[in-house]
Amino acid sequence: MAKNLVLEVKNLRKSFGPASAGFVAIDDISFDLEEGQILGFLGPNGAGKSTTIYCILGLIKPDSGKVHIFDKDVTKFRSEIMVNVNYASADFHLPWNLTVWENLLVYAKLYEVPDAKKRINELLQIFEMSNLRNKAIRDLSTGQRARASLCKALLNKPKLLLLDEPMASMDPDVVDKGIKLLKQIQKEEGMTVLYTSHNMWEIEEIADKVIFINHGKITASGTPLELTQQVLDIETGEANLRDVFIHLTRTK
């Protein structure tokens, strides 16, 4: 039985700068995400991953193409759609002067979370942050800040979660714990996830399917194992996305 499509990106194109000498960040890409799927979105720096995510969030207007979430056009129904979507990136913080609890309460209001206090307590417990609830974000370690951001990203039990390198600059132990927690919550709550990272191990651990993007174009897609076998042309039972990444990035 065909599953529901949560995200549908079709012929998306975005360029920056003047038409004649502009930089094409996304060049006619199409992909979709089924309910409950975790998509690893890979590519070198400047490949167009973040631009794609911003188009999905409705924060950049594409030149052409469409982004449909829950079968609705994101450019027309943005607010309605975003109640069931969430986003986290290591590039962005929660306000530093506010405590973890205050931050989560503000975002719970923004995402119209019913019974916000219960949900916040639940997440703080899952991410082992209950004892840090009254600490200001500036007083947390990098790993704790990332966990607070993940709490924010999961507040509204999003049906679609966009994670743009959420665990960048974290030590392997924290990443391992974070990935396991995310997988557990994803299974329990049936979320669909789009996940970008430069850490191939993270993607191998979490993704059902991988899309590789370079110079704004999708150059390969499949499960981590399929990609390893296809791109590296080897018979193997283990995914090796690191070598896939290097091969695809260096191949024009």
Binding site: F16, L59, R78, Y87, H93
Partner: protein
């Protein structure tokens, strides 16, 4: 302790380079002092020729109402920049909030802050200087509303500039209200200004608010002419700032600048 002049020079050089990249910093260095001089020059000229018992009331009333404009107009832009400085702006904009909801939130918080500021100034002016701003009666509320609306238009204009040019434009947000001050006839009547500047003052709603305030303090009657002039001008400014903001917002969505604010 010895000082290494090269290292000191390195710091100076760093700021020269920054100033070259951010021309708005010149406003801080050159234009701001000039505006202060112009303001106090006209005030001195006005005070020299006046023998009015209402002078203290004019000055205090002017100052209290000016604070409304200055605080509200800068507060909206500054609170917006806090989200950029906190690197929180993308988290916020990625949420279901619309930009107009965000602006309305900023505006409401400015409104609450200015009510608190006005109350404390009203109490202090009454206790220490025996000046009752409430002597302006019901007209005070009308003056205040016009000031607030113009400050909001100004705030929306500031946010549009930040959206377009990024947070480096920040210092301008603080200074812009002071560009208006000499022409706003805060402490002296429009008639004190040279004819060219009078024309500028005439198209500023707040100049009519302050004219109205002085008239009411002097005669005890509300100046409807000034009130309606200020209201009409405010409608034009508010429409202009909303149109400008909408234009800029569409532009930054297209250019990708919205996600590059930090």
């Amino acid at each position: 302790m010895t000082m290494n002049p090269n290292r000191v020079f390195a710091i100076i050089l760093r700021h020269i380079f920054t100033t070259m990249h951010q021309l708005e910093r010149f406003f801080d260095v050159i234009i701001s002092p000039v505006l202060v001089l112009v303001l106090w020059g006209f005030l001195s000229k006005y005070v020299q020729n006046i023998q009015s018992s209402s002078l203290a009331a004019f000055l205090l009333g002017g100052m209290i109402l000016w604070v409304v404009f200055e605080k509200v107009s800068t507060d909206i832009g500054v609170n917006f920049m806090y989200e950029i400085w906190d690197r929180n702006i993308i988290n916020l904009l990625a949420s279901p909030i619309t930009f107009w909801e965000f602006l309305t939130g900023l505006l409401t918080i400015s409104f609450i802050k200015i009510i608190i500021a006005l109350t404390s100034m009203w109490l202090m002016a009454g206790i220490f200087y025996n000046f009752q701003i409430t002597s302006l009666g019901f007209g005070l509320a009308l003056l205040w509303i016009n000031l607030f609306i113009f400050a909001v238009s100004f705030g929306i204009f500031n946010v549009s500039l930040i959206l377009r040019y990024g947070h480096t434009i920040g210092p301008l947000t603080w200074i812009l209200p002071f560009f208006v001050q000499p022409f706003a006839a805060v402490f002296y009547p429009i008639s004190v200004l040279p004819p060219v500047l009078q024309k500028i003052a005439f198209v500023l709603p707040i100049a009519h608010v302050f004219e109205g305030m002085r008239y009411t303090l002097k005669s005890g009657q509300f100046d409807f002419n000034s009130f309606w002039l200020a209201t009409l001008l405010n409608i034009a400014y508010m429409t202009g700032s909303v149109v400008f903001f909408t234009f800029i917002f569409k532009k930054v969505l297209k250019s990708g600048r919205l996600v590059k604010l930090i």
